[in-house]
Structures are given as structure tokens and as C-alpha cells.
Amino acid sequence: MNFDLRLPLGMIFSLFGAMLAVYGLTSDPAIYARSLGLDVNLIWGLVLLAFGLCMLLLSLRAARARTRGRPNA
């Protein structure tokens, strides 16, 4: 089946990561009192973004390998 789950996984987590990171940079620091003073939106947003980009990269590599005619790559 030529449906690579890593593509939607990469898309959704990159998107969530970027949203959280941007929100973390722009939101009122007062809301982080409850998260022990840590800007968890920025920190966790970057973690999600890194995971999402890894998935996208893997999926793109596999797609390129498929078009070059190397199945199972």
C-alpha cells in the first residue's frame, strides 16, 4: 500500500509544534506561573517540531527512493 503514515504524522506534529512555539514566544509570561515558571509552550513546541520534521524527512526520503524505482527503501 503506497500510503506513508509518516507524512501525516510529520505534518500534524510539525504544525502543532510550530503553533505552540509561536504561541510560547508571543503569549503573556504570566500564564506560565502554573507550569512552574517554564515557558512549556515554547519548549514542548520545539520538541514536537523536531519530531514532526524527522517524520517528514523520513517520509520524503522514502518517497524519493520509490520514484527512483527502489521499492522497500
Binding site: F3, P8, I12, F13, S35, L36, V40
Partner: protein, 574 residues
């Protein structure tokens, strides 16, 4: 004290909406892959092992897992990890190494169908029917719990919450069948990891790290008259049932939970086994539960740890964390996760955490619906109502069964809302049916002499003895005659806790099934020829040729590593 409500902001709703767009989008994208009934029910046996492995794990991550394990973490401490470290992991490895060759190799399309091939029609019918009813009720319980949570935390309308959640689950299964459910379960798996990990992280940071948590939990244990380490040592306090809050001793724990209940669930429940049967090769099918075992063994840190942190913090008036109380005044431990989300997560992360909570309920529900539509269509409809129809006909029936399964779940969700006690009673009956099942499979797969009459009478007597045992015993602190036990007029034994009673009910049921199956099999004639049993029974199945895969793809090697790592975890937190 009522639970604190969560105030979601724009960013939180944006995350929630994007998630559901993706969930339905995956169903839509997979629609064109569904060409026949095998694609709809079995994913055409075409899915790679890492995906079926994560789906195997996720199908079980329903409401009970996340909410219930955190609640147990607060109530019993690290002893809750026994559900993973002697319960789930050994059973999952056993399924992959020893049982999957027969499930996958027999070409059976479901667990009940395996019973039909190995034994006879009545054994299959008994299993298919009880399983179908059970899935509909479990799915309804997930739906009810989710809608209740939305009502309590966000003030959403209960009816609207039921309708929206049911429609989303219906949407993606209807479109893409099992593949869609499996792919969404993998997405849900990552959501659960990324959504709850910050909770464990922030909670542990707040209490001051693991050693500080240990010190705080000593006070909790002493307050309840247990030894100081009871909440942080999983094996030190199981010599006697009175030494730990679970009220179980090592034998009941190892035999009841570790052997009968865990093996019974992980090795014979079609809900999880179906994920492995969708794998693209025998090797991938065998690796499925073993791949699932690795993240599974780390889940205690994700779901039990927040519960332990919560119980430590609730005692500290400066922490600001509270747990709501039930109408009878007892603490409502089921609110541990929602309360901690509200306590630690700012807007943004709160949206992610809340979406995760919804995702876990929906994956529990979707797993049940996909298992239901397969068993209904293949094992009930095709077997008893309409055999020999075209494949298109069964695909069509699968879609109808999906709609009916979701509608029945909605029905049972309202049923649960009205008759909480009847739901408890039903769950009890299912426990009676499930507990002996592992004996039937064990004998069926590894002893060729086991006959259909033997298997059926074993199952029936195991179920009956489970009911009798429950009817004659009672967990301490309960009144005889209700769903808690003692309804047969006499109470012969009082268990220290409900959990101990459950473990021993399972031990009795399994033993009865095992003994009766052996006795009746020896007294009856084997009607199946050796040729018919090839591929279904260990002794009559040719060993696969020497492994050609690299070591990291061999089920036995991976299983060995999983067991070794689990042993280390047991020792580290003993």
C-alpha cells in the same frame, strides 16, 4: 468538592479542531484502498510491523488505561506497575513468539474463527457472541466516560458530546475500515506520548524529583498504616495481603494477574490480536506485540507516575492541587489526570493535553467498533445468516455493522448513564467469560488431543465456576448480595480488596476450564484429523525454516530483549 473546570482558549480549540481534521482526513485518504471485505476487515494483511505494533498498544489505551492507571497510581502507588511488568509484557511476548504463528498461519480472519477451525461451531459461536456483546458495551462505556468528562470539565452538553464523538469515530472507520482505525491509533499513540509526557515531567519537577517524591510518599503510606516504602517499592510488600493497599499477596498477583488475566486478555482478545493479524507477513505479525512491548514497559512513567505525584501533592496545602470528592465523601481518583492537566498546563499545552485525553477515549472506542464489525460480519452474519454471498455483500455488511456498532455504543452510553450498576454487572459477566478462555487456547494450540466437546464444556464450566466463586466471596467493606459478590446466600471467604477477589475469581475459572477441558477431551473422540489440525496445533505445524531476517527482526531475539528489560525494571523498582 467539585472538580475544577478547564477554560480552553482559542489556541486550544485550534489544536483540537486540527486534530479531528487529520483524523477524518486519514479515513478519507484511505477510502480508495478499500476494494473488498479483506481490505476493510483485515487491512488486506498489508501493514508494516512498526505500525501494527503501535496500533496494538493504542487499541488498548482507552479510558481505563489512562484515567484508571493514574487513579491506581494514586491509590496503590508503584505496585500498579505490576499490570505492566508482570502482566502485559510477558503475555505480549508469549503471544508474539508462541501463539501468533497459529493465528496468522491458520488464515483465520478472527479469533472466533480460529476456534471454529481448531474445535467446532459451538465453541466459536459462544466466543463470537459474548465478544460481540462485550465490544459494544466497552465502546459505550468509553463514549459515556468521554461525554461525562466533556460535560464536567468544559460544560459541554452531554448529548452533543456523545453525538460529536460518535460521529467522528464512525466517520473514519466507515471510510477506511480497519486500516483507518489502525493508522489513527498510531497517531493517537504519539498524541498520548507527547500529550502526557509534560505532565509527568512537570509533576516530578514540582515535587522535587524522584527521591523527594519517595520521601513525600512515605508520609502517605504511614498515614494509611503501611510500611513507609509501600508506595514506591513494587515487590517489597507483597508477602502478605495485609501489607499493601491493593490487598493482594504474591501468589494471587503472579497467578491471577500475571498469568490468567494478562495472558487471557493480551493473547485471546480479538480487539488487540486483530491488529497483529493485519500485518504484512508472518514475521511482522509475530513482531507486532513484541514491538508494542517496548513502549508499553515505559508507560508506567507516563500514566502511573502522575497519579503518584498527585497523591503526594494533595497532602501539601501549598501545592494548590486538589482532587474532587465523590457524593459519598471518598476521593475521586479518576480525576487525577484531568485535574493535573488544569493545574500545570497553560493555554496551548492544555489544548494538546485535552486533545490527547479525547484521542485516548476515541481509540478505545474505535478499537471495539472495528473488532465488533469483523466478528459480526464473519463469525455471526456470514456463518449463521447469509453464507456464500459475494465479497461486495460482506463489505457492504461491514459498513452497515460499523454504523450499527456505533449506534449500539450510543445506546449503551445512555444505558451506562442511567443504570450504573447494571453496567458493573455486565462487566462482571464478561470477566467470567474471559477468565477461562486462555486455558482453552493454551490446550488447543499445544495439545492436539483437545476436542471440541472438551473445549466447550471447559469454557462453560470455567465461566460457571467464576460466577459461583464470585457469588460466595466478598471484598472487605462491602454488603453481600450486590454486584460486589456474596449473592449466592453464603459468604465463604472475605478478600481484603476487590482486586484480590478478581484475581482469585480468574484463578478458579482458569483452573476449572483447564481441568474440565482435559477430562472431557480424554473421554471424547477427536473428530478433527491431523491434516485438518495442521497449522493450528504446535505439534502438527512444520517449524519455519531457519530465520533469514537480521537479528533485530527476529521475534525470539526481540522478545528476549523485552523480557530482559522488563526484569531490570522490576528489579530497579522492587
Amino acid at each position: 468538592m467539585p472538580p475544577t473546570t478547564l477554560a480552553l482558549r482559542g489556541i486550544d480549540y485550534a489544536i483540537l479542531s486540527i486534530y479531528f481534521v487529520f483524523v477524518l482526513g486519514i479515513g478519507w485518504a484511505l477510502k480508495r484502498h478499500v476494494k473488498g471485505s479483506a481490505d476493510f476487515f483485515l487491512s488486506g494483511r498489508s501493514i508494516p510491523a512498526w505500525i501494527t505494533g503501535l496500533a496494538f498498544l493504542s487499541a488498548n489505551l482507552g479510558a481505563q488505561e489512562v484515567i484508571g492507571m493514574a487513579a491506581s497510581g494514586a491509590q496503590y502507588g508503584i505496585m500498579t506497575s505490576h499490570f505492566y511488568w508482570i502482566g502485559a509484557i510477558p503475555a505480549m511476548v508469549f503471544l508474539g513468539i508462541f501463539m501468533m504463528p497459529f493465528y496468522y498461519g491458520s488464515k483465520a480472519r478472527s479469533v472466533p474463527e480460529y476456534l471454529k477451525l481448531r474445535f467446532d461451531e459451538k465453541t466459536r459461536g459462544f466466543n463470537a457472541l459474548s465478544f460481540a456483546v462485550m465490544t459494544v458495551f466497552s465502546s459505550g462505556i468509553s463514549l459515556y466516560a468521554l461525554a461525562k468528562l466533556l460535560e464536567v470539565l468544559l460544560g459541554w452538553n452531554f448529548n452533543a458530546s456523545v453525538a460529536i464523538s460518535a460521529l467522528i469515530v464512525l466517520g473514519y472507520i466507515f471510510l477506511g475500515g480497519l486500516t483507518s482505525a489502525i493508522y489513527n491509533e498510531v497517531l493517537q499513540f504519539f498524541m498520548i506520548v507527547f500529550g502526557f509526557a509534560p505532565l509527568a515531567w512537570l509533576g516530578l519537577r514540582d515535587v522535587g524529583g524522584w527521591s523527594a517524591l519517595k520521601t513525600r510518599l512515605e508520609a502517605v503510606a504511614v498515614e494509611q498504616h503501611f510500611a513507609p516504602g509501600t508506595w514506591t517499592q513494587s515487590w517489597h510488600h507483597v508477602a502478605r495481603a495485609a501489607d499493601n493497599p491493593m490487598g493482594v499477596e504474591w501468589f494471587g498477583l503472579a497467578m491471577g494477574l500475571g498469568f490468567v488475566l494478562s495472558f487471557g486478555y493480551w493473547c485471546t482478545d480479538f480487539l488487540v490480536v486483530q491488529r497483529a493479524m493485519a500485518a504484512n507477513s508472518m514475521s511482522a505479525a509475530r513482531r507486532t506485540p513484541i514491538i508494542a512491548a517496548f513502549p508499553k514497559m515505559l508507560f508506567p512513567f507516563l500514566v502511573i507516575l502522575p497519579g503518584m505525584v498527585a497523591i503526594a501533592l494533595v497532602r501539601d496545602p501549598h501545592s494548590g492541587l486538589t482532587l474532587p470528592t465523590n457524593p459519598d465523601g471518598s476521593t475521586n481518583f479518576n480525576m487525577v489526570i484531568p485535574q493535573m492537566l488544569g493545574h500545570y498546563f497553560p493555554p496551548g499545552l492544555l489544548g494538546l493535553g485535552f486533545t490527547t485525553l479525547m484521542a485516548s477515549f476515541m481509540s478505545g472506542m474505535a478499537g471495539n467498533v472495528t473488532a465488533f464489525n469483523t466478528v459480526w460480519t464473519y463469525d455471526i452474519y456470514q456463518s449463521y445468516f447469509a453464507p456464500n454471498r459475494s465479497d461486495r455483500h460482506y463489505l457492504h455488511m461491514g459498513r452497515i455493522a460499523t454504523v450499527c456498532g456505533v449506534l449500539l455504543s450510543v445506546g449503551t452510553a445512555y444505558f451506562a448513564a442511567k443504570f450504573n450498576n447494571i453496567m458493573n454487572l455486565l462487566q462482571l459477566v464478561f470477566a467470567f467469560v474471559n477468565a477461562p478462555l486462555f486455558a482453552t487456547f493454551l490446550l488447543g494450540m499445544f495439545w492436539r488431543r483437545t476436542t471440541g466437546h472438551g473445549a466447550f464444556s471447559g469454557l462453560v464450566s470455567g465461566t460457571a465456576l467464576a460466577a459461583v466463586h464470585h457469588g460466595l466471596t466478598l471484598p472487605a467493606g462491602n454488603v453481600a448480595g450486590g454486584v460486589k459478590g456474596g449473592w449466592l446466600g453464603a459468604v465463604l471467604h472475605t478478600y481484603p480488596s476487590e482486586m484480590a477477589q478478581n484475581f482469585w475469581t480468574a484463578i478458579f475459572a482458569w483452573t476449572a476450564c483447564f481441568v474440565v477441558t482435559v477430562a472431557v477431551s480424554l473421554a471424547t473422540r477427536q473428530r478433527k484429523t491431523d491434516a485438518e489440525l495442521t497449522g493450528l496445533v504446535y505439534a502438527l505445524t512444520p517449524r519455519p525454516a531457519a530465520a533469514v531476517e537480521p537479528w533485530y527482526e527476529r521475534p525470539v531475539v526481540l522478545g528476549g530483549i523485552a523480557l530482559g528489560a522488563t526484569l531490570l525494571l522490576n528489579l530497579a523498582f522492587a
